[in-house]
Symmetry: D3
Subunit: 322 residues, 6 copies
């Protein structure tokens, strides 16, 4: 498996899924393929030099391949140089004792049981408007909500990442409520907003293993998609004149916190401030931690684009101290 | 009428509508009222010094009043000092030979006939999706679309301003089509986008004489309201899976041109670039011209906020040269 | 008491402390005084019109005064117009059954018992470096840390505000730890950073009732003052070569999150990201809630400078729903 | 011809002009040449791998070459791999039945006849100052004005591009005049400003086939060059004290709209707002359309730098629908 | 004289020039005049309450007036309240033993003798192009160059301020030459650029006592005016093809250092970097020092707009220590 | 030596120190090494193609190597292609008649004698607080202060660069004092601030030949390190309550001029303005001149990152004209 490969493993045999294929031309004029490989244990980049048209034909995004490859370390990142490969079609999966589930990284939480907890919790709320709209929407898109990633690369880009991220926000909101009991906060709005704030991603992302956005996603954005979900559902439920619907829409629309980050309106409900802050914090912790795990203790991560290009120091390893 | 008052008219009698009342405390501790007055010929600011509670009670936003006032020039702007006033109730309108229509500035175009031209033109388009959605929406909100202003103060803040602004965009788009015939532009999308880009203002603005935004407008913004109009209408018309709907939504969502100006997505259709450019140009010409008309030839306008605080030189008077 | 005054109370008698006196010249050429008054129940602005030199002499920042005043509502904020006043000297406190403690707003938590809890908690940590430095510093400045406000006006500007804010961060950090147990976070660094991040304010603020910053505070800033506290304390404790000291310094230095907000270094430890995020969220919730409490349900707050001038809608009252 | 080459044409023979030669070192240590080729039908990039010093000598910017090359598709852009080449000197042109005009892309309008129309139109204006200065300047630089490109790469980078762009602005301005007849706009100033706004490019660009800027252009910029053209011409015509000259200078100086885009003054005449808006729109439509034409319907363009790195969706093909 | 007035001088008699008159309306509805007064010793603001039309007529910008006034301190700035006034016409100057020179603040250097030194120094340079153009231009505008201020309010707003500022730059440049002798700097270009960089202000400013900019200044800006001075002079001297002319133009055009500060080109000669840095430093020192002189030692200045609103601490008095 | 190599020297033999080794993977899948070489005469980049693990082992940062290499010009920069190499260990230095000092570029000033002049000058100051703290600190770190570079790459990245830069600021400050004798400037504070403003770099930089920053430097930054130096030294000298100490701290903390450039406080002493301006100017002159020296007269430098990516024209060569 991918996470077992390291700089010392000179030659490896690996079965993996191609998350994305990029065709490149080398400076000597010959083509080569960059293969972003993934299995349930992690991701690794492989390169096939001097690729032929047949290679391009076979090594498509989504294919399951078995490769013989040499390891290489480039800018402190492990790379593979493909010596030979074989595409494994679906009918051959059994022969290789594999199934498609083995080639995706999954969120490290039990999505199914936590989804039930989430539904149960929302069901326990008192505000019937927030409750109904939230439950109806997540049930309409239950499968996508439970399996889609939260982003292509910025954060939570794993199967179930969208749910994981949304659920983390809900948990975070519940946990800080006690600290802010002095304030006039409609916590039920915070909770439902946390669950729904990224729901438009079920349309924006191309699928649970998506490495790309859909055209619809690029033209509308998940914020506006989520907003129309609420608007349409309110009409269905004959709630279009209820002002609590506006509040749900507002916390989705304002969830990026600022116009320049893509929110058409900036928060003007205190609940929107809480949701957008927890959203940003959750994404940042995921991403920084993900990069920290790629380097050794004492080393600095590469430049993280979403952190304005900053590097972070890996100074602490939770496993050591437990 | 307001546009007949000038610095020379020492004492005036005027019937006008209060567009907005602002209660202020003077530096001597007594209260006074700032009355933004309007009639069909223009706007003027009046002040009632040493106001009583009864004055506050009577001089409400929306009231029609008859005043005796002295003129005053402050920072090159005419002001009125109210000496005495009388509130005119609706039942007394006839007695004063007035009607409510006389107390609003209207767009200087024939809205009704131009609305018909607009409908006819949209009806002549070939794209059935753009056409149906556009016509259905403007008909649903025909009255508001024809009477609401385009903004509280930035631009086209007159009765019919929303229509005037939208129609100007349509006319502008039609006029430049010939120049850009070399380009791959879906002009029917430009036309329908021009008509619909600000349609959410029928909810965002508080009314045809609105000097304020609605709560719904502040929480959602006209861009997102317009987007849900299209989304909801597409469902009604069973067009929700038609990709042309997405394009209409996109040109509304991207009509402010940049995230930082409140568009949740930036243009990724060339038609969105044309609409957002014409939108900005139309609003700027209106506003700068409006300020130029307040000062004499050879003078500079006050600082215009929407123009980054710049002043403009009144160097040319179209009437002179005609 | 101040919080009992409302628009209906026409004439009031009040004993209060002058938090700040501002001398102004009215547009009629006479002077007047703006008095920011405070007692334990709240704040209110009073004005004394046509003030004399003697008034200026007597109505100094810090004085306790007894006034007869008329209420006035200006831009939806209650104001008082002082008709007569009397300064109450310390020797007369007993006569009026008052003491100085009655004229400050205090943080709505029990600072003493919570300070003990905080010390106990820090004492329970395993990292001796973080623990010792944190405890030594807060003990050196225990009195200031427990009584100073967190800011002049932006947030937590009450007696004990600095402690309240720091303690809220600690509570928030403890509460979200469970959500982020997957990540490589040195929580003890987060906890001590939360406690120390604003400790420099014990020098930066002019006192527990401070309405101003000290010269030292303006020249150095609380971030750099806090950083030298840790550096100096480490030398005292002979820990200057321990790398954990650097980490504590880093999370203080980076606590504003970005250079442009006054942090000389931006976070490069994940713990700095958590602290700066919780810091911003805590200050924002305090400030927005404070403004929400000044307006009625259904109304919008004034423009909040620290929120980029945005207004917030008061849509929910926690007391109603409890 | 270049526009006839596509991914299917495996081996091609082509005569083209080298618009720019870039020497590069491959990662294997050998040099190679990137040749930007152009003929009247379009542009294509070719690469000569393992180039020798002799190759570098011969394959200079500006040379006409005949190549045998293999096609290659790289990041959805067609590339050529040069197998062999031959330089064609001017004396051999006849032999190959070619002439130098065949190796430049030209603006898709008849420059000569449109130039005459432009002159005629300007001649018909009433303002003698605008008219004389404009005509004198464009006649002084007639050849450059009619043949130079409008930019190296951002927009209208074809022979005659400067004229095409300036003429498009004039046409655009004339077409929208009707929409803005209500406003105090000196349209003759708009027209002459449209013609002259980029005139400094006749010095800034290195020539009609320029792929580079002159030193003079880099040190002064076309805006300041154009401004001195007007100033010098006014002295020649003894008009230096006429205030209309200032207005012409102003609309040139302010034509980039904002200081940050290189205008030393921002518009303070309404005509400057119209010119700078039409200028930006014209450049954007050209560039986006140019990129749209490089990709197939349904595909997204590459990231366009001048559009803040955005991609655009090719969703409409004007040829299909005509 | 103005600098002899202080808070203790209760009633004063003063003859001064009105630098600027601003008509205002008080909150009690009556008008008042703000008079910016100046004499050779300094500036002070005076107010005439309850002004009549006759007052407005008489108290014009530029008038010399004799007033009886009461002192007042407002926001730590001294103000005068005019009790009575008398306008002194030119024919009465002798009677009052005054002349117009007594009512302007002058640069604290001997402009005439330093101007001669400057001319002599430029005459001693070796580069004939820089030398001739510089000398010809400053001689053409000798009177304005020697008397005009450098700005309306930002810096060096005194008679001779333009010369003082330009001469300071020249002195600064000469003084640091020794430090940078290692670098490839064309010091003669720096010197001439220092002298000419603001020369366009002789047109931009309305006069030596100017409190306003000319229309020409506002439409073109001093940078572009100075640039055409050089261009026109080069033509006169038949130097239009000499490349050193371009360099002089470049250092004028780039003297604001960045596009966003109004330079149409940013420095691409090292000499432009030196000039723009010394320019900014000189203006800042003047302005900050000017504000420091208004407050007492130990106090902070008001917010200085050109310093991003920062206040400065007056901590050192050069007179004390000399 | 490196500065004797040029494009004409086809094959060269060179002994140099590796300032930094970067391992790269070529597009053909083989590794290569980029070697930044340095000797006392300059820097040059060399590449070893198809590197083996043994090469990587031997060609470490810091090694002294003897190479046979071919010259190559890439983007107008000279490069070397290593044909063969030999590592020279310290014990072999004598055999090759070399010593370690020969492989560093040094500041082109006599550091030792100028350091003595600096100490003497500071000793001559009157302010005992500034004097003692400055002298004590630079003596504590004398060796580092005299040998460390001022930055890794931005400016003065040579042995002794930190001293050179600090000394240049001192010289610059002394030279302009005469120009600003009218202003209230505490020049002794300027002088000591100039000397100390970057002193934290003795910790931030990894050594005199440093091509990297220390972890401590990255976590704290040289500004905060320098600030604690002063704070700690003041305690040692029992000066912690002296307000002049605050001023020294302030000019260090504010030396980057703006928050966004990493200063935790912006200047609020006029001396801080002078120091930060001279600091920026000195760094810019060094860097631009350094780039100008890499290209021929008449050519443009590459894009300079610290100059917002601008190129500069080499138009003047000081050697020619001397």
């Amino acid at each position: 498996m991918i996470n077992q490969i390291n700089a010392e493993s000179k030659l490896v045999t690996l079965i993996a899924r191609i998350e994305k294929t990029i065709l490149s031309t080398g400076n000597n004029g010959s083509n080569y393929l960059i293969l972003n490989l993934v299995d349930m244990s992690g991701r690794v980049e492989a390169r096939l030099w001097n690729s032929t048209e047949k290679d391009v034909e076979e090594l498509k995004t989504g294919s399951i391949i078995k490769i013989e490859a040499a390891t290489n370390v480039y800018r402190q990142q492990l790379q593979l140089k493909v010596n030979s490969y074989e595409v494994i079609n679906e009918e051959e999966f059994e022969k290789h004792s594999i199934n498609i589930e083995m080639f995706s990284i999954s969120a490290p939480i039990n999505v199914d049981s936590n989804f039930e907890k989430l539904v149960e919790f929302i069901n326990s709320l008192e505000n019937e408007v927030y409750k109904k709209i939230t439950l109806e929407i997540i049930k309409s898109y239950e499968s996508e909500f439970k399996t889609f990633p939260a982003a292509v690369s910025i954060h939570h880009n794993v199967v179930g990442g969208l749910f994981w991220h949304s659920y983390s926000l809900l948990m975070g909101a519940k946990s800080i409520k006690e600290v802010y009991k002095y304030a006039n906060v409609d916590w039920e709005l915070v909770y439902c907003g946390a669950v729904l704030h990224d729901i438009g991603k079920v349309i924006e992302m191309a699928g649970k293993n998506a490495a790309e956005y859909t055209d619809e996603g690029r033209l509308l954005g998940h914020i506006s998609i989520g907003n129309t979900f609420v608007s349409n559902k309110a009409i269905e439920l004959n709630l279009q004149d209820n002002r609590d619907v506006l509040k749900l829409q507002h916390v989705i629309l304002s969830s990026h916190g600022k116009n320049e980050y893509g929110s058409p309106v900036e928060p003007s409900l205190i609940e929107g401030v809480i949701i957008s802050s927890l959203d940003a914090l959750d994404a940042r912790i995921y991403k920084i931690n993900d990069e920290l795990e790629k380097v050794e203790k004492g080393a600095w991560t590469g430049r993280i684009l979403s952190e304005d290009g900053r590097s972070y120091l890996n100074h602490y390893n939770k496993k050591e101290t437990k």
